[in-house]
């Protein structure tokens, strides 16, 4: 879409890390191949998802406009970027922010991209990522290059891969932490990014680090892999380690992560994660995506059997220096303040006092505080991001992170600077108080942009924010500390299970009309890294939810005993009492002339489920062989381009390499760890596919395999125009034959 797309690659040459630059070049080629119809849409969908380029609502080319379903006449016509996903449909770009750590320059890059490719807003997610919405797929390679130049990647931000490695945003400064988990989370993030052992999952895999077990800043219990800092005394010394938890996850039915090991030393952290990934890839469900998360594998096998498999796998791992390289210096602090420590010189008053109470917390380093920049619904404008970058530079050495509550935290602010930073934030609309309180409502995108959204989670969140903010001064302290979290559907992206008051979108038919509802979920424990999950209580029309919140909180204030927590209060009064209390709110008013109940928050259209699409969260189940064959096709395409340009040497080399890629893809079916050595690939291919005749075409027999053998034999000779042309053609045929062979092979048996 952007005219400058063609120019950015040259503009940023040398500014991007080489591996990221190459990754993006590959993606750009895949885009071109898809447009030419040379790359299957299913494969392209997974490859774009693994680059964080996600679908959005209405990308199937239909939209219910409030009266009827309209077909959207996108200019690119029938071209798709995935099954039932139109090419021109706006998409969401997810951007990985490991541990939530960003610097001011990266904030500025995000601001630029939001303006130029999106709608001027950066959205912070419940997993510390950033997201841009309404992005055209043609702009994504340029967008990724500009991110790469700022050392940010979108790689594996979606799809069946290792997602953003999250971490407590207070790591290193929290008075209650056992130790700073930052170096370990960064190391794991780097290590697993693009790791060959993580390319063949049936679903996504989410790791999280916490510096303690008692707080909820990292929500380790809801993660596939949760790592909590622990220390133990060994030979008179305190030794660092991690409590390792596996198999947690939300979704329709949430699972608490199970303790895998109460103490894993840092040098074992990466190999253990690698072993877990390998076991998940090998034994995890691939066909039924509804049971493909690791939580089901752990549940089905039992934690002891799962552990046994992982420890067996660990023994087989070839040593990798990266497992321990990062440990040198890991125990030292990596951040420092810009300004000397200090204290407030005068008592706080007015708006500053309220902000001070809810939006700052002391660091373990005397005289410093962490400042929370509360973002309404996780949204921040490009101008605000630039202003935030300036503020972060002015008061700190660039220490800012995102949180799972969709906010930013600025670390290492001298306490004597708090009035000044409050003033600076206030000048750009970023000093809203109430961070972490009941008004700091968390919501997933819901029906605003998500294909799976049933009800408007953001619309409801905005309304609750507004209503609660208006009366926040009168709210009892016990109520102020409650958490509200909202998901647009049962898939839990808004983390409704872990809130005191959780809601997820459902619909009900009433009088022949669909009515947007939210299921009320009560009893979740936010503390202790999510100590327990809430349970659904009843479905309530969307428009009645604010009244539900009012009734429940008022009843809690009047009925709580001895300072009991909200979940204990709910448990004590019981479901019958709850039902009686809320029963009249479970139905729209008898007066059917009030049509507001048939519309959702912030959406004037008559409510309909006609816009529901097929989610891409689960990705496309594409094996590493599919990917290998696609890579081979891409490379032979590049060989053709080189041939056209008269670069015969290059064309010949690429054609030969494309054949190796295809052969390797097949070998991987039987030998997952086949090394990258050409001789070994050819040998393994010969033994496993030629000698056994598995590769043999029903008509041509082993003919196409000989193309590979011959190319390998002559791989050290120079290519002429003629030999390069022959080789490109042979490579094409070999790749086709590899596809045929793969299609003929029986599907792998489920474990």
């Amino acid at each position: 879409m952007k005219v400058s797309n063609a120019l950015w690659k040259d503009e940023l040459a040398g500014e991007m890390p080489e591996d990221l630059a190459r990754e993006i070049d590959i993606f750009e080629t895949e885009l071109a191949l898809r447009k030419q119809g040379k790359l299957d849409e299913r494969l392209f969908a997974e490859t774009r998802l693994r680059r964080g380029a996600y679908g959005q609502r209405y990308d199937n080319g239909q939209r219910h406009d409030g009266k009827k379903v309209q077909q959207i006449a996108y200019p690119s016509g029938e071209l798709t970027k995935g099954p039932n996903t139109m090419w021109d449909a706006p998409g969401m770009q997810r951007i990985k922010i490991p541990g939530g750590g960003v610097n001011p320059e990266q904030l500025e890059t995000l601001a630029e991209l939001a303006e130029e490719y999106s709608d001027g807003i950066v959205h912070v997610t419940t997993r510390q990522d950033s997201q841009l919405h309404y992005v055209h797929i043609d702009d994504t390679p340029t967008l990724m290059r500009r991110l790469a130049a700022a050392n940010i990647t979108t790689r594996e931000a979606c799809g069946n891969s290792v997602r953003n490695v999250t971490a407590c945003p207070y790591a290193g400064v929290c008075p209650d932490e056992v130790f700073d988990v930052t170096p370990y989370s960064c190391a794991l993030s780097r290590f697993l990014l693009g790791h060959p052992d993580c390319q063949n999952f049936g679903r996504k895999f989410k790791p999280a680090f916490s510096g303690c077990s008692q707080h909820a800043c990292a929500l380790t219990n809801i993660h596939d892999l949760g790592l909590i800092a622990v220390e133990r005394r060994e030979n008179g010394e305190d030794k660092r380690g991690f409590g390792v938890y596996v198999g947690g996850g939300l979704g329709a039915v949430p699972y608490q992560a199970k303790l895998f090991d109460s103490f894993v030393p840092p040098e074992e952290l990466l190999p253990l994660a690698q072993s877990i990934a390998r076991v998940f890839a090998r034994h995890g469900e691939k066909k039924n995506r509804n049971r493909a998360r690791i939580k089901f594998l752990v549940h089905d096998l039992g934690i002891e059997k799962f552990k046994e498999l992982v420890l067996e796998e660990r023994k087989t791992l070839p040593p990798d220096p990266r497992w321990t390289e990062y440990l040198k210096g890991a125990e030292e602090s990596h951040e420092e303040p810009l300004r000397p420590p200090g204290e407030l010189s005068a008592p706080a008053a007015g708006p500053f006092e309220r902000w001070l109470k809810t939006n700052t917390r002391p660091q373990k380093q005397q005289g410093y505080a962490v400042v929370t920049v509360a973002l309404p619904l996780g949204d921040i404008t490009a101008n605000q991001l630039r202003a935030l970058a300036d503020i972060v530079r002015r008061f700190t050495k660039g220490t800012v992170r995102t949180t799972v509550e969709q906010n930013f935290v600025v670390r290492w602010v001298s306490r004597s600077d708090l009035p000044e930073i409050h003033q600076a934030l206030d000048a750009v609309g970023l000093a809203e108080p109430g961070a972490g309180t009941i008004i700091d409502v968390t919501a997933c995108p819901g029906t605003d942009t998500c294909k799976l959204g049933i009800s408007s989670s953001r619309g409801l969140a905005a309304e609750l924010r507004k209503q609660l903010d208006e009366k926040s001064f009168q709210l009892d302290e016990a109520v102020q500390n409650l958490h509200i979290k909202i998901s647009g559907c049962f898939n839990s992206c808004g983390q409704h299970h872990v809130a005191d008051l959780g809601f997820y979108g459902v619909s009900r038919k009433m009088g022949g009309y669909a009515v947007p509802h939210f299921q009320l979920v009560l009893g979740g424990e936010w503390g202790h890294n999510v100590g327990s999950y809430g349970l659904p209580v009843m479905a309530i029309p969307s428009k009645n939810i604010p009244q539900v919140v009012t009734r429940l909180t008022e009843r809690y204030v009047s009925g709580q005993k001895n300072g009991e927590h909200f979940r204990d209060f709910i448990k004590r009064i019981g479901k019958v009492e709850l039902k009686n209390m809320l029963d009249d709110l479970t139905r729209p008013p008898a007066d059917k002339t009030d049509r507001s109940f048939f519309r959702d928050w912030g959406d004037p259209r008559e409510y309909s489920l006609g816009d529901l699409g097929v989610g891409e969260c689960a990705g496309e189940v594409v094996s590493s062989t599919d990917f290998g064959l696609a890579a081979a096709e891409r490379e032979v395409f590049e060989a053709q381009l080189a041939l056209e340009d008269g670069e015969f040497e290059q064309a010949g080399k690429k054609a030969y390499h494309s054949m190796l890629q295809a052969a390797k893809a097949l070998v991987k079916i039987e030998y997952a760890d086949v090394p990258d050595d050409p001789a070994q690939i050819v040998q393994e291919f010969r033994t496993r596919f030629y000698d056994t005749q598995k590769f043999f075409d029903p008509y041509a027999g082993g003919k196409f395999a000989h193309y590979l053998f011959a190319a390998h034999k002559k791989s050290d000779v120079s290519y002429t125009a003629e030999s390069a042309r022959f080789l490109v053609e042979e490579a094409q045929l070999f790749i086709e034959a590899s596809h045929s062979c793969y299609n003929r092979l029986p599907a792998p048996a489920a474990v």
Binding site: M1, L7, D65, I72, E116, Q384
Partner: protein, 193 residues
């Protein structure tokens, strides 16, 4: 230099009186009726963000919004798709689209006449930092295009150009003020000549 992805923002009269909520059903209706040249797709509500994009009508080739960036409320046209032709063609296209949207909004009954172009001030942005970095050199290169275009837009009447925030991180922009007020119809007429 090539001026693409032109954004035009028409500043509104009495911004404090404008309620953005009624824009949501209006923009949804525009999608139902596909009232613009562009393919209209969705409505994004950012009223919760201070000094933000307000309410945005998302289109394929362009977005329309009532935008409050820099706490300056205005009717904004954001051209996303590239356009053939000259710089004058592209400036004209974006300005016409913004003025046409302005006319439609001014005549919307549910807004009770509260959303009105102030007739004296508009802003123009080039939403592509590589084509038009926010630098002095860009100003020098674009000046004659702007002069020519605004001469035409204001029918030869006086106007004053001032370049936006000099922060190189921001989009290249120019603000135009006129001593006498114009309405959207006058300006559209001038462009039609």
């Amino acid at each position: 230099m090539e001026l693409q992805h032109v954004n035009v923002k028409l500043l509104v009269e009495n911004p404090g009186e404008v309620d953005l909520e009624p824009l949501i059903p209006i923009f949804h209706r525009w999608i139902q009726d596909q009232v613009c040249e562009e393919l209209l797709l969705d409505v994004a509500d950012y009223r919760h963000v201070e000094a933000g994009p307000g309410v945005v009508l998302i289109g394929h080739q362009a977005n329309y919004s009532v935008d409050n960036a820099d706490e300056r409320l205005g009717i904004r046209y954001n051209r996303k798709a590239a356009l053939e032709g000259s710089n004058q063609d592209r400036l004209k296209q974006a300005t016409r689209a913004a003025l046409a949207a302005c006319q439609r909004l001014e005549s919307e009954p549910s807004l009770n006449g509260r959303l009105r172009f102030n007739g004296r001030e508009l802003e123009l942005f080039i939403n592509d930092r590589l084509l038009a970095p926010n630098l002095e050199a860009t100003r020098a290169a674009a000046e004659s295009d702007f002069q020519t275009f605004f001469q035409k837009l204001f029918g030869g009447n006086d106007f004053c150009l001032s370049y936006g925030n000099g922060d190189p991180r921001r989009l290249f922009s120019v603000s135009v003020r006129t001593p006498r007020p114009f309405n959207a119809a006058d300006l559209l007429n001038n462009l039609a000549c």
